[in-house]
Symmetry: C2
Subunit: 151 residues, 2 copies
């Protein structure tokens, strides 16, 4: 599979999250061209405020592989990771981060604390941004517009 | 129980973590004077790079209470939270954060990205630092010194 196809899978996870009433962000974790884990946000389902899509796939992949670090892994996520997720991605030693739309309000890669440029960041992935950013942002916008319409 | 007694419990969790070969940091989550969750680092045990003591108690408490947020909760942790944990504490809407030793290399509260002072931080706990900081730092120092001595 190619880069765009992995991001398509992440978008599918975002759409599935919306259907479950979760904030529609999706992530896919890939090692050597194989999908190891895919998830959307699961904070409501699990009552777990840390269960963002990125953290969910990192946990699933570590569990699947029986290891704490994911050296050589590529992570595809539909929205710029937040501060918590940016740090988790660093701790997991993920090699490449591909993300969709930027998140000026909560992002921590190219916005906010720009964690990967900080002295307290001890591993930074290579970052590729803007993949399918329009669709990614549209899925989020539609979700929140529909929520506002519900009395 | 008083503040110092909760920090003593967090130190007990740190010592127990050391005995399991985990980096010795402990955390206790308290609501209305009652301990809801207590844990040390569990990253090795769970093969979960996100299972820092703070994230562990937040997840345990959310699970116990069946809710995503911990408004009104106080968190005691033996070391200054890292970037991931500082953000998770914010997302969980924790009211007060008490921590022991500062962590200039990895901390994100009074060092590093100082997350609670950033525009992308949408809830900041009240922070009380330096509780039992000498003991907290000694537990960590001893752990790493012993690790270096093992060939």
């Amino acid at each position: 599979m190619k880069t765009n196809q992995f991001m398509e899978l992440a978008l599918d996870q975002a759409r599935a999250a919306a259907e479950r009433g979760e904030v529609p962000i999706g992530a896919v974790l890939v090692i050597d061209g194989a999908v190891i884990a895919a998830s959307g946000n699961r904070t409501r389902e699990l009552n777990d405020v840390t269960a963002h899509a990125e953290v969910a796939v990192i946990r699933m992949a570590c569990d699947e592989l029986g290891q704490e670090r994911l050296t050589g892994a590529d992570l595809y996520v539909t929205l710029e990771p937040c501060t918590m997720c940016a740090a988790a991605i660093s701790f997991a030693r993920i090699r490449r981060l591909y993300y969709g739309a930027e998140d000026p309000k909560g992002g921590a890669v190219d916005n906010g604390v720009r964690f990967y440029t900080q002295p307290t960041c001890h591993h930074a992935p290579d970052v590729y941004s803007g993949l399918q950013e329009t669709i990614s942002a549209d899925i989020l916008r539609t979700f929140f517009a529909q929520k506002r319409d519900v009395p």
